[in-house]
């Protein structure tokens, strides 16, 4: 298969119209006990269906469930693992968005599957493959506060086992693509050896689904090309105009499949289609475009929904142009 398109993870939960803001309203009403949990769940289901429909309509080849049920990148997962308490707000990397920090109060344990029912719900409503997104164990460990484990390593390993179990369950449920978001390693590159140990646990006997390691909020400088030895099939990275990763890629051949974040999901400014086509041509000099995914650099939640939609339209137009010219 030639070039394909996808998004990095989340899709904006609300838009500008009253109809598109129903999740925001429902959450307010739920907080005030005006609607039941089932009512809220119903709205989350509807919005999830809607954002899958939008992705397919625009022409993306691999979709996500938009992470509509996630209140932030940490707590949706952490609240379903025994041993975490969810606490105060903390800034998420260098963004102006915040997450509630999970605090490790006791030994972490897998209770039951975290995402399988979400995956099944989404895949039943999608004609395109749905990729499951998991916050990776290293990032979960790093962005949480550890009050229980003597060493960080023990925390990371326990989380690795938990995420491994979850990935296995997703694979069993038929999920063909599983993504691990691991931005935190880019801020702690000296931990790379530990990171490899963590991923030996995560990826053990996980061979049916294609595994993507997503590395954004920074560059791969300093861990490239070593990171290519990790047991995943695909690596996602930021490749917006002028990003340091362009230089990093010149230093060694990229031997995995790539999820190339060429569209900037943190600014409303629209890239020109021609610039992006040229960028992909440039990329073709370093990697085989044959199985490459073109994607957004980050989750689309940093953009208002109408801008997010325009960005993914741009992405699919670029792919169409390239396929038409049979670059791949």
């Amino acid at each position: 298969m030639a070039l394909e398109t996808t998004i990095a993870g989340a899709y904006p939960k609300i838009g500008d119209t009253t109809e598109e803001q129903k999740l925001r309203r429902a959450l307010h009403q739920f907080d005030k006990d005006e609607i039941s949990e089932e009512d809220l769940e119903q709205v989350k289901n509807e919005v999830t269906e809607e954002v899958i429909r939008q992705q397919i309509e625009v022409g993306l080849d691999v979709v996500t469930d938009g992470l509509i049920r996630w209140s932030d990148p940490l707590t949706y997962i952490a609240s379903k693992v025994s041993g975490f308490e969810i606490t105060g707000l903390i800034r998420y990397f260098d963004t102006n968005t915040f997450y509630r920090q999970p605090v490790v109060e006791s030994r972490l344990e897998f209770i039951k599957s975290i995402l399988v029912s979400d995956y099944q719900f989404a895949q039943e409503r999608s004609t395109k493959p749905v990729r499951a997104i998991l916050t990776g164990p290293y990032t979960l460990a790093k962005l949480s506060r550890n009050k229980f484990y003597r060493e960080f390593k023990q925390l990371a390993f326990d989380l690795a086992h938990i995420i491994h179990k979850e990935a296995e369950a997703l694979q069993e449920a038929g999920c063909k693509y599983i993504q691990f978001d691991e931005s935190a390693i880019l801020n702690h590159k000296h931990d790379l050896n530990l990171f490899f140990q963590v991923y030996e646990i995560v990826t053990a006997q996980l061979s049916k689904a294609e595994k993507t390691l997503q590395l954004n909020f920074g560059s791969l400088e300093g861990i490239y090309p070593k990171i290519l030895n990790l047991n995943v099939e695909r690596i996602g990275l930021e490749l917006t105009k002028g990003h340091k990763n362009w230089d990093v890629l010149k230093s060694a051949p990229f031997t995995k499949k790539m999820m190339a974040g060429i569209v900037d999901a943190r600014n409303t400014k629209m890239e020109s289609e021609n610039d992006l086509v040229k960028a992909v041509h440039d990329l073709g000099e370093h990697i085989s475009l044959e199985q490459t995914w073109l994607s957004t650099s980050h989750s689309l939640e940093f953009l208002p929904r109408p801008n997010a939609r325009k960005k993914i339209e741009l992405l699919t137009n670029v792919a169409k142009q390239l396929r038409g010219a049979s670059v791949s």
Binding site: R24, H28, F98, R100, T268, K269, M270, R305, N307
Partner: protein, 321 residues
């Protein structure tokens, strides 16, 4: 006087004003009607600060919604975006730079004058810094973050000059975003240099909690007379950093946790001031809350400020100030 007391800028809006702002957004009351209530609330806060004995006053920002959007709405070249999520179910609109940023008229000067006329004590001119406005905006016009940031620095410099001309002895330029990207600290320093260039007023900047170990002591190069820091929120851990390199600017010592409903005790606040006194000469210390108080209830904010002023007075007496 040693240990002058002040606040970071915003105070909670009284209920009648919150209601009026909502009515104004629905077109139910006029701009003039809203403004009258904003003035009433400003006067109440000035009176309160005088009554409890704060030394350097603020107007309380009764007329501002968000510290970045307020300036973007009043500068040319910005539009306002659709809704983006901040956290949980909280959304906000971001400024979008779509053309050259210009300042058609002074933005804060009339409010400064209004507040200053109500009191003999100095009122601070309150601005948001160029780095923070840049970092919290989308940019569809400038080629780089640096270009937008430096252009904003020029515009905010003009505003600071106008505040000074209007009589402001203290000008605060807040940069809460500065601690988030250590690799851009140089840019923030350069931009602040443009803002404060040639000002005779006492200048200060407020920085919120971030990765301070990564920007300290380099952040002391921000060209202002005082850096105001959030300290209570992190149990004063920051002070340990100052052992490695002395804090050379004046310090605005955050002694009230603005995120907590609980009113600090006088003893707690005194202990915080005394801890700082072990590290920093008394002449260099100003006492203030951690951050703006706008997210607290009116009565919570007032109770906290009373404790802050009383505790400071008692410490001052022990120092013979």
């Amino acid at each position: 006087m040693i240990l002058p007391t002040t606040t970071v800028g915003s105070f909670p809006k009284p209920e009648y004003l919150t209601k009026a702002r909502f009515q104004f957004s629905k077109g139910q009351i006029s701009k003039t009607e809203l403004e009258q209530l904003e003035k009433k609330a400003t006067k109440e806060w000035i009176d309160f600060q005088e009554e409890i004995g704060i030394d350097i006053l603020v107007d309380g920002e009764m007329y501002r919604g968000d510290m970045v959007t307020y300036f973007a709405e009043n500068f040319k070249g910005f539009e306002i975006s659709g809704l983006v999520r901040s956290y949980g179910n909280r959304y906000y609109r971001k400024p979008v730079a779509v053309a050259e940023i210009e300042r058609a008229n002074p933005v804060t000067v009339d409010w400064y004058k209004f507040a200053q006329n109500l009191t003999k004590k100095p009122v601070k001119g309150m601005l948001t810094g160029p780095y923070t406005i840049m970092d919290w905006s989308f940019d569809e016009f400038y080629p780089s973050r640096r270009d937008l940031c430096l252009r904003l620095a020029e515009v905010i410099h003009d505003e600071a000059k106008d505040l000074e001309r209007a009589g402001a002895e203290y000008i605060q330029i807040d940069e809460p975003a500065v601690s988030v990207r250590p690799e851009e600290l140089e840019l923030a320093i350069e931009a602040m240099g443009i803002v404060t260039s040639g000002l005779k007023a006492y200048t200060l900047t407020h920085i919120c909690y971030g990765d301070f170990p990564k920007i300290y002591p380099k952040m002391l190069d921000i060209p202002v007379n005082q850096i105001d820091l959030e300290l209570s929120n992190n149990e004063f851990d920051l002070l340990d950093l100052f052992k490695k390199a002395p804090f050379t600017s004046d310090i605005g010592l955050g002694v009230l946790d603005v995120h907590s409903h609980r009113t600090e005790t006088k003893e707690e606040v005194k202990a915080r001031i005394q801890k700082a006194l072990k590290m920093i000469p008394k002449e260099k210390i100003y006492v203030s809350p951690d951050c703006g108080l706008k997210t607290r209830e009116v009565e919570e904010a007032k109770a906290k400020l009373r404790v802050m002023v009383e505790a400071t007075k008692e410490v001052r007496e022990t120092l013979g100030g």
